[in-house]
Symmetry: C2
Subunit: 360 residues, 2 copies
């Protein structure tokens, strides 16, 4: 990965925001800028130098992974405490940016407590999050591969779904296959929601058994070489009713409409609206209780949000999900989701599992 | 669980901190106080009422789970935005506590932006985190069961560890067995660190193969009915050298010494010191680069921290880990960890897998 280029682009943006340094404390941002994959680290990105702080546990790993930054480790000090101390000793940094969305109030206090009189903490715009929205050429094959593995896992998943098997067992099978395919971990807790539980938009796999007849929402993704994938397919156990087929087709059309709206220059709010409009026609919009999607990359949820009122413009290289759903409490639910990359003229679907209703 | 009792105890502490309400935004704390297990929710705990806020996705789940609090859902508003709006309309709350360790600077701004002139945000002491440190009678069987399953998983794990198998495959097997045993998910990314990788204190299972000879650090835990477990055992593939055996025994003695120090009234700093002292005698203390342990419950890492300089006193019902380790970069590492509950006279080890060096 082009760590030096990323640090350079961040520095450039620092200047534009009239900041002399940025305290990068959000770990995915730290990883993006200097390659560190551990669970404790802070990067200070200054105009002419970058300094990475971690604790004793990560001495060896930092040496192996970190690029483009000096490494500093103080025994028995947290990464943030070390970073704070260093900033306090470098009075030339007067306007110091913090990541307000990712830094806790207590962490902000820790930083503020050691600064000199001329130094100020400024809430920086989401500089690094914005850079990360548009994927670099080297990132796309990794996202593509994570999505390819996910589509492949779906083939195995439909073989284990049947009445009487627990949701957790299905999840266990897909997670085991993911490990065998090289996944570092699942990208989020696997959702297998069967029968009336399909009406829970976030129905994590439970010990409940799959009933003899009904929808099963399967929402899962992997982390492969650091990059996430996200896909939902809804299948049906037993023969679907006419009303069930209609519901499924309505969601499928809404998803298709939203996919068709994804192209450079379109606003993310419009993509959300495209899915909602289709459901509105069938009086189903009130059952679509979440936003249409989100960015995917080093994090499973990252910028941009594909939601009503959001104005980010799509650009080639953005990777987002498109995932409308309809949920009728106590009865049933359907969601269909792809991870897609914005191309020069539209989008390419990376999660290629079939979307015709599968009856098992 | 005794949600009403917990809310009552929180209210009592609010008074002592001269607060009229507490904005509980940390999800494990929300769950602890009112039972909600979803991924988006805020609880406002006031002197005579508690109000829970979530978004449209969790309408049905909130109805099923939340106890002791009114439920409010505003379509198309985040839980925190709804909570902020509600606070702004309730001017009688003047001094409003926030969870400074868990609320981001941006979230604090969102709250502050809608408050009336007489209303102030105050950084509250960690009221709920402190309550959670000492487990209630109903919580202990759940922690016990999570630890029992973990010890059982270890028996399967040592059957799959052998030279040539990848760390990820071993992790996959243990995670699959965990699902079959009813686990909701792993408590943290499984660590299987073999050969020279055993020197990485946080060596997540990688695609690397287990070498013909050397230590394998296995650190894993499950979440069962919401409660976490945490155990590390280090095994050896092939015949251990004399130096290897010595190293292992040094860590085992250090762990034993720390376990012996765990009793009511003892300070957590002393427990940490007990492990360190033993390693100091063998000149190994400089290779013990992390703290000795942490609380375990609804979160895998919670209060208290068992670390140098920490002064929390152990009390019966606290559940903590005891996990000294020694890591020699590029060469090898050993860690031994148990989850234990503090009893009236000492502690009971909940993770009962054997600690003699196992050569595979």
């Amino acid at each position: 990965m082009d760590y030096l280029g990323r640090l350079g682009r961040t520095r450039h943006r620092l200047g534009a925001a009239r900041l002399q340094a940025l305290v990068v404390s959000h770990l995915p941002n730290v990883r993006y800028l200097c390659g560190f994959t551990g669970t404790a680290g802070v990067l200070i990105c200054g105009p002419s130098e970058s300094v990475f702080f971690t604790d004793g546990r990560y001495r060896e790993q930092a040496r192996k992974e970190v690029r483009g930054a000096q490494i500093k480790i103080r025994p028995a000090k947290s990464a943030l405490a070390s970073a704070a101390e260093w900033l306090g000793q470098n009075n030339s940094y007067a306007r110091i940016g913090i990541e307000a969305a990712h830094l806790s109030v207590a962490e902000r206090n820790l930083l503020a407590g050691v600064l000199g009189k001329r130094q100020r903490l400024i809430e920086a715009p989401p500089l690094v999050d914005e850079l990360r929205m548009v994927k670099e050429r080297a990132e796309l094959p990794l996202l593509r591969e994570a999505c390819r593995v996910t589509s492949q896992l779906f083939r195995g998943l439909i073989k284990v779904i049947r009445a009487g098997v627990s949701e957790a067992e299905v999840a266990g099978e897909v997670e085991f296959a993911a490990r065998q395919a090289g996944a570092e971990q699942m990208a989020f807790p696997t959702i297998i929601a069967a029968g009336p539980r399909s009406a829970l938009p976030h129905g994590r796999a439970s010990r409940a058994s799959i009933p003899a007849r009904g929808f099963v929402v399967c929402d899962f993704g992997v982390i492969l070489a650091g990059y996430c994938s996200d896909m939902t397919r809804t299948v049906h156990v037993g023969k679907p009713s006419v009303a069930g087929r209609d519901l499924y087709e309505a969601v499928r059309e809404a998803q298709q409409a939203a996919l068709a709206a994804v192209k450079p220059g379109e606003s993310v709010g419009e993509v959300d609206q495209s899915a909602r409009k289709l459901l509105q026609r069938r009086n189903l919009a009130k059952f679509f209780t979440h936003s249409t999607g989100h960015g995917v990359g080093l994090e499973i949820h990252e910028s941009p949000r594909i939601a009503a009122g959001q104005t980010d413009e799509l650009r080639p290289g953005m990777v987002i999900t498109v995932e409308p759903g309809v949920y009728m409490p106590g009865k049933w639910g359907v969601r269909i989701e792809d991870t897609v990359v914005v191309t020069d003229s539209g989008c390419e679907v990376l999660t290629t599992s079939p979307k015709e209703l599968i009856a098992l």
